[in-house]
Symmetry: D4
Subunit: 248 residues, 8 copies
């Protein structure tokens, strides 16, 4: 029941003042008891709820996947283990697993629009980049991936300038000192989404070093997300890319 | 001398191989000795160099402002003190100072396009928001400001929903616990640029609390910039807004 | 032997001055050698000692449970593993295990009084919330649980306003950025006990992000406890709830 | 215009559907442009807005004080400098300044109810304690102050047990290692609100040492607030004390 | 060859100037290649080298134990696993393992002198306390252990005052908020060696909370050692106790 | 009134049971309202209360000095400014100020016993060392000072070995990396009290680097105190030195 | 195709202006899709790419080793597990594994030049030292290893002075408080490369204590690398040693 | 008196055994009481003692400068204020002050050898770079300065490649995210000394962000020094440069 419905029912005396006041405050969501699935999220924010699978109880996970899939006919889960994949595919046919990205997905056929470029500094950053890739394509954006172009051999990056200039938005994934984002943002006109990764050792403090690098960049036009947060970067890139192709 | 020029000169034997190799590596910038002004930055990144005035030597400051102003006919300086303003207006007519934003500006008349919304959680966050405002309008975007809509009285924010839905990009400026960004991002379809401020006391650790809040948000579509970095937020918002109105 | 007893014995010359001086300093507790069970804690603080089971030696654990159960006819243990449950139920009949809360319990039949509401931001916070629930009901308070009402879909929370207004005390359990506590405290008249959880990843630093959010809240009336400390929150909520129904 | 009013107007066709939908989302607040004063806060949370004076622009400060005072006939400001006091007393008669608490106040005559006890570990913690005192009495609670009873001479604290046992709620203010809260909470039945202060030096890290002590206390029933946050402690203590005397 | 020997040899022309210069710089130690056993440590510092077993290679461990045992006829190893014990007892008869302390020991019969008291706040701190106990007795001090006397039930500690007053030195072992050291040091005349433990959870940050508490104590006469460093505390306590009984 | 007095009065019926119970809990201290001077501290801990002057209100300071001086005929104040000295010498004759140590003192003529050695790594550490010196001599220990013997020129330290071997206790004061304590403790048989100082810059983080060095020392027999805490080191050194000369 | 080739081709009209512009930006590297092997690194920086094996996918690892080995006829891998060694030796004959250093290597016969000394403070630091050793010798430097010469028994270090004075560069590997680097640097004329290790416990915070010690050293001539970064130290030492023997 | 002298005197019976033993341990230094000037430092480490002027007492400063200048006929002081310069030039003629570097200097005429390059990322880093410059030239190295070549406009750096390739050692000075060091080290064969500066704001945490970047660099051959430590970088660069020209 939407707010509009409530107002109509109240006006036509199907419900009284008290009920109307209460109902107006209630939003639409499906209450599973342990979870309240946010079913008007797409209308409100432009995208359906994505399932964060990490540490979820098996029973909870199955119920959530079934409910959301029934509703939306497509679904994306992140931070999923191989065991969760084995479990869920017994309940939902044709669910797919990307073992690098650790994502579970059933996706509707849809045209991918615009152009997002995802860069990684090294090969160890590929898992995070793939999570961004899966999210961004699931949401409808076309993505180009360019991996292993870190600044210790800067010619590898400079040689990609043409592709960089064609993007509506660039995701730069880097661990260790995370300098990739600064160099890229100095070369292009569009926003660079910087994803620090926990790749490294010693005083990288689980990705803190790359995070601070990106937040403190001397270059302009950098949007930082949380450490290892490929999902968040993909979501944000899709928003920007869609705006660039006139979809809001 | 552009790379194209160099190639032509080499082909027509005006320069030899060695010189060509060297020149190709040299980019265009004006060398003041203590500074190398990046004069092809606009071509490369879409915006001229902005001057970070904090702690700059007076002589350096005057030279940089004069050089850049002569080149571009407009200029923006950030983190400027009142004393720096008094000094510079003796050398450059009609330079203007926003004492809340701490910005210095001479701006060309230009049409402001698109729509960016800047929110603050409290009144103490206004200085940072004004820096974002000055940057974003200097770069050519239309901006709407809505101040003091923090989550401790959430009805103040909810009543702005219509304006929020019209924006191409929203900047959320908040100190203390910085929860504003999370709530806003749960309400809209467009990217939210989150600016943590150092406003607060005790365990806010100079803005760290708000920064961590924003990086760890449970909402999607949040781009975080550095603490108190209104400039960075304004720059990024302009990029996104321009993409949304078809300019790249 | 209470202080009163000692005074009487001294006055009636059953003990001499020296003994009296010593005895007065001795409080009542049962000394197991490796542990000193605080048996007048209920008289002093209103609640019996609860057993923190984590990493306790098996032999120690059995002795402590037996001794306290014999004394009080009820017992609560927190942070207990399934293995500890299997062990203890061989020694103490009808001990119960809540695998989400990780609590062990034998509880006397008692009337639950007042009204405490426990909220979680997400489903991953339920374990901590259940620990609070078990503690709070064990101590005699009536509790209502409302799970998965985080701020990324704020309508889920706003629709609960009626229940919130009936509570004497609210526990808000949240990980990631922990903004739930700020929003709730802006809506109600009663204390909000904020429990940061270690749920999240990247720059959440094991719950530090949520902890700082709660300590720095722009809303009033927030009492913060340690990260993942459902027990502490349940204990505090019971104290406040009891005061509200006139028990001290 | 309340939600009820809106519903009535819509039913009686004074406003159309569209307007009703919009109005329902708007809450009541006074918009000063730079600030949105939360005038239904008392109805919602039980207490009027208190002004955080630190770093506020003089013009803003005067306008906020005048507006809120006109509305509520009483006002409390915290973190106010002597200069702000000198300024405001030119605009608002009989405003009072507590130089230890750094509070500004005009208070209505009201009966102070219940019983809150405020303790400090040392004399250097008195400023924070006085801020709590001013807040708590402004909101209507009776307060007893007991200063300089830190644990390095524990007999000073133990001798106050009678007073502690009469309180509905105890505020423990301590810097350095902040052990006071743990000891007090082990002695009483009611909640202890722990306020870490920045008093100390070296590895106290601006109050972090006392904050961590209080969050990690081995005693039960401790509610921690932010470092030096006397205001927050006073607010929370009043809430609990009011519940204990049957006011909600 | 001692420095004295070298001088004599040089004077009597058994070695030349060059050799003498070199030899003087060489101290006495046994070089195993991978390790240089410090065999004049006892003469210099009063105690033989103790073996830190954690992560030591099995071959290295056996060689070190054999060499030192042959030399000193007694040996102490700390942070030893059960597996290391099983291994070493195949090579060295009558080596003993304290599974709480995780120490390996062969000790000469010796009179234990003076009086050291070891306190723990809780039962979970006993492992660290036992490491201190084993070290301190190995080095020749008499030790009394009093466990589980934390400040949440302060009467348990106060009742031990007599024993505390008889000690030459007190070791206070505590995790969580670590307040035990402050309270004890306020009661006695002798040094209190404070050992923070990593016992706790949430914002205890692996013992940091207790460490900061102890460093910032408002009580006098506290000597802090590293987190979980029972060995260091036992060593230091023995030094102080020996001084008190006239041994240096 | 001591506990003994109370017991006698009760036995002889001068007070009733209730009064006796209350009085027993009361300790002896002088209550100045804002402060509770701990007048049986010397009996309990062996030393009178020392005044921490930093940030103390002038009126409070005068009252505390007068009261304590009247009681004890000697007094020590630490962290005192020159202004506080100028103020206090108007009220208390012959008070003396050590501008390096920032201490105020009136001391009784007393024999200084035993032998404590204070070392500094550099000249910038002298202020902290002098605070230790003043405290230690005030409490009755003989002290020898050896300054500027840091490890970057280790021969300066090694040449002092004879003096080091005569000490009952050594205080090592060092900033920057604080390695002095480790080297000294490897050379001697007695406890080394390590005082980290905030001397340094960059990543010394206000003394944290030296503090961590000292806590993690590979040498045995190191007692660490808080950053810049010369007072605490002097207090502890006096305790140990007194034990060594047979005073407890 | 080198830049020189491109220029020639353009001049001789084998490629047009556009192609030349593009090609100039392209550097030489082999693109494996998931990785871009930096094959002109030796020409540019003097050393071939070394493989960081940690967490590398097996398929990726095999391809990278094969490609680089084919190209360079020698290869070094760091942070390799025993399992990776077992895998790779099935594909590449005569690959060798140093289980202390965790390195994989096939090395060409080459003369080792100059003189680098590697010191460790303890035996637990040997693994990191061996990684430095393997790297430095692989790159062509002669290395002397001196292990277990930490400052707690400083004579062990002082007796090595002659060897230290012969080195062109010294690597000092130390955990715990890391004081070794300071003492060594005070004794010699050449650069000391300081490698903090994560060896230790408690407040060593995974090597942070040793890292801060080394960065804040009071001695001159210290170059710090990341925690446990034996590879980085070996690389840097080889650079310096080569310069000293006239190779650049 | 050198060790050699002592041995001779002992052999020829000018001193007895006891005296010889003592004298051998004594090194040569001048004892000013508050300071022990390390006068054989040049012989041992290749460079005279440099004076760290920050916070030095005026009297101490004058004495140290006079003593060292008399000895060495040249002197360098770092972190000197203008006031210290004014003071010292009254006592020592022809002392010179570099107000950017904050250094005081009297230098002997000497040939500057080799080639060191100092880079800065921005103009705000120039002060630290100048301190490195003054140190490095004082010690005898030839230095070339190239300022304002940060990575946000990477062509500025790339155009300097020729100069970079001629250096024996490069110092890279950078604040904010400090990415300059990584990019430079990827381009050259010689060691890069990375100096993080405290330039920046927000989450740069006083230089920590740049420090972590440099320690975690994905490029090889980086030697990191403390934040803002231009002196340390200059010292180290001179050592490496001297080795490269054959001086040790």
């Amino acid at each position: 029941m939407t707010t509009k419905d409530i107002l109509e029912k109240y006006k036509t005396n199907q419900i009284d003042l008290d009920s109307a006041l209460k109902e107006i405050k209630k939003a639409n969501y499906e209450d599973l008891g342990f979870a309240k699935l946010d079913q008007n999220r797409k209308e409100r924010t432009g995208a359906n709820e994505v399932v964060f699978c990490q540490n979820k109880d098996n029973d909870f996970l199955i119920k959530i996947f079934k409910t959301l899939y029934a509703e939306n006919k497509e679904i994306l889960g992140t931070r999923a283990t191989k065991e969760q994949y084995e479990l869920l595919k017994q309940h939902i046919n044709n669910i797919e697993y990307n073992h690098l990205a650790k994502t579970l997905k059933i996706s509707q056929n849809k045209e991918l629009v615009g152009n997002v470029v995802i860069l990684t500094a090294g090969t160890a950053d590929i898992g995070v980049a793939e999570e961004a890739f899966e999210t961004c394509t699931f949401l409808g954006s076309h993505v180009e991936r360019i991996y292993d172009v870190g600044v210790s051999g800067i010619h590898r990056l400079l040689s990609q300038e043409e592709k960089l200039n064609k993007a509506n938005c660039i995701i730069a994934v880097a661990g260790m000192e995370g300098a990739l984002a600064s160099v890229v943002a100095g070369l292009v006109k569009v926003p660079v989404i910087a994803v620090p990764t926990s790749v490294g050792y010693g005083a990288n403090f689980g990705g803190l070093s790359a995070l601070l690098t990106m937040l403190n960049s001397c270059s302009n036009g950098i949007a930082t997300v949380n450490i290892d947060n490929g999902y968040g970067a993909g979501y944000l890139a899709n928003q920007i890319n869609k705006l660039a192709v006139g979809i809001k």
